[in-house]
């Protein structure tokens, strides 16, 4: 369903990668790995059509995402490096408004349950300013609980989370894959996803791969 052909990434004066190809079907996850600055985040942003590739193309359901536009975006859930959490709003408001902006219907009860699931019970009505780094990340990840869109693009989803939360997120991804969804994610942590097939893709020089294996 998701296919990249001959992608090239140039950042400033450096060519981060060229001739990058992969193909991802429903129920599969792509685990991007590589050292810092190897272009992982850049690749994720290309997959979201935020950054244009220097050359090469990305296809979704056989059509180029650059031309699909909104049709593609309605099937895409992106969780970036930043949490997209408003400090002034409560976790509940954040969750509801992000669903609203994505044109999804999310009942308040479902939102409460989602927040409880990521361990924010009792903090639903506290401004996010007062939450810890990990709690903010949880508030952001609560979006995934009711997320039905087919393609998840997650940038370091496990960062700043404790072991229990990491397991929870992994299980969410697993359920998503089991339902036939796709996921592309970057992480430095070795986390097993309970279901679905995992493909790995290394970015950067080959030495780094050997060294870290």
């Amino acid at each position: 369903m998701l296919e990249a052909s001959n992608l090239e990434c140039v950042r400033g004066e450096r060519r981060l990668f060229t001739d990058l190809n992969f193909r991802l079907a429903g129920g599969e996850m792509l685990h991007l790995q590589g050292s810092n600055g190897s272009g992982k985040t850049s690749l994720l942003r290309m997959l979201c059509a935020l950054t244009p590739a220097a050359s090469g193309e990305i296809f979704w359901r056989g059509r180029a995402i650059a031309k699909l536009g909104e049709e593609f975006r309605s099937e895409l859930c992106y969780l970036g490096h930043q949490n997209a959490i408003k400090e002034e709003l409560t976790p509940l408001e954040n969750l509801l408004s992000s669903a609203e902006l994505a044109q999804e219907t999310l009942a308040e009860d479902a939102a409460f349950d989602a927040l409880a699931m990521v361990g924010l019970r009792g903090r639903e009505d506290l401004a996010c300013r007062y939450l810890s780094q990990g709690q903010k990340r949880r508030a952001a990840l609560a979006r995934l609980v009711n997320e039905k869109r087919a393609l998840w693009v997650l940038d370091e989803p496990y960062v700043a989370l404790d072991a229990a939360a990491v397991e929870l997120v992994a299980s969410l991804i697993g359920a998503h894959l089991q339902a036939g969804g796709l996921a592309v994610l970057t992480t430095h942590q070795a986390v097993a996803v309970p279901a679905g097939a995992v493909r790995e893709l290394w970015l950067g020089d080959a030495d780094a791969r050997q060294r870290s294996q």
Binding site: R15, F17, D19, L20, N21, F22, W202, L203, D205
Partner: protein
């Protein structure tokens, strides 16, 4: 020729200051702009040449002494 004498030409019927003020400033700026450009270009070219020379020297140096190479070339990734 419209003018009878050079002095008359310079005076411009009492408006000499304004007319020549316009012409001189315009001519000056139109000459200064390409000169600045040429200078900027020269500094850029010498800088780039120096850089290329240094890089080539480094490359040859590395070839003559087989040290542990770490040339980070873009890697072909395939899944």
């Amino acid at each position: 020729m419209h003018w009878n004498s050079f002095g008359e030409f310079l005076a411009m019927g009492d408006h000499g200051l304004y007319v020549w003020g316009s012409l001189v400033v315009m001519a000056l700026l139109l000459v200064v702009e390409p000169m600045l450009l040429l200078r900027g270009r020269r500094t850029l070219v010498t800088r780039l040449k120096r850089q290329f020379r240094a890089e080539r020297a480094e490359l040859e140096n590395r070839r003559s002494t087989p040290a542990p190479q770490r040339v980070s070339t873009p890697h072909r990734s395939q899944v």
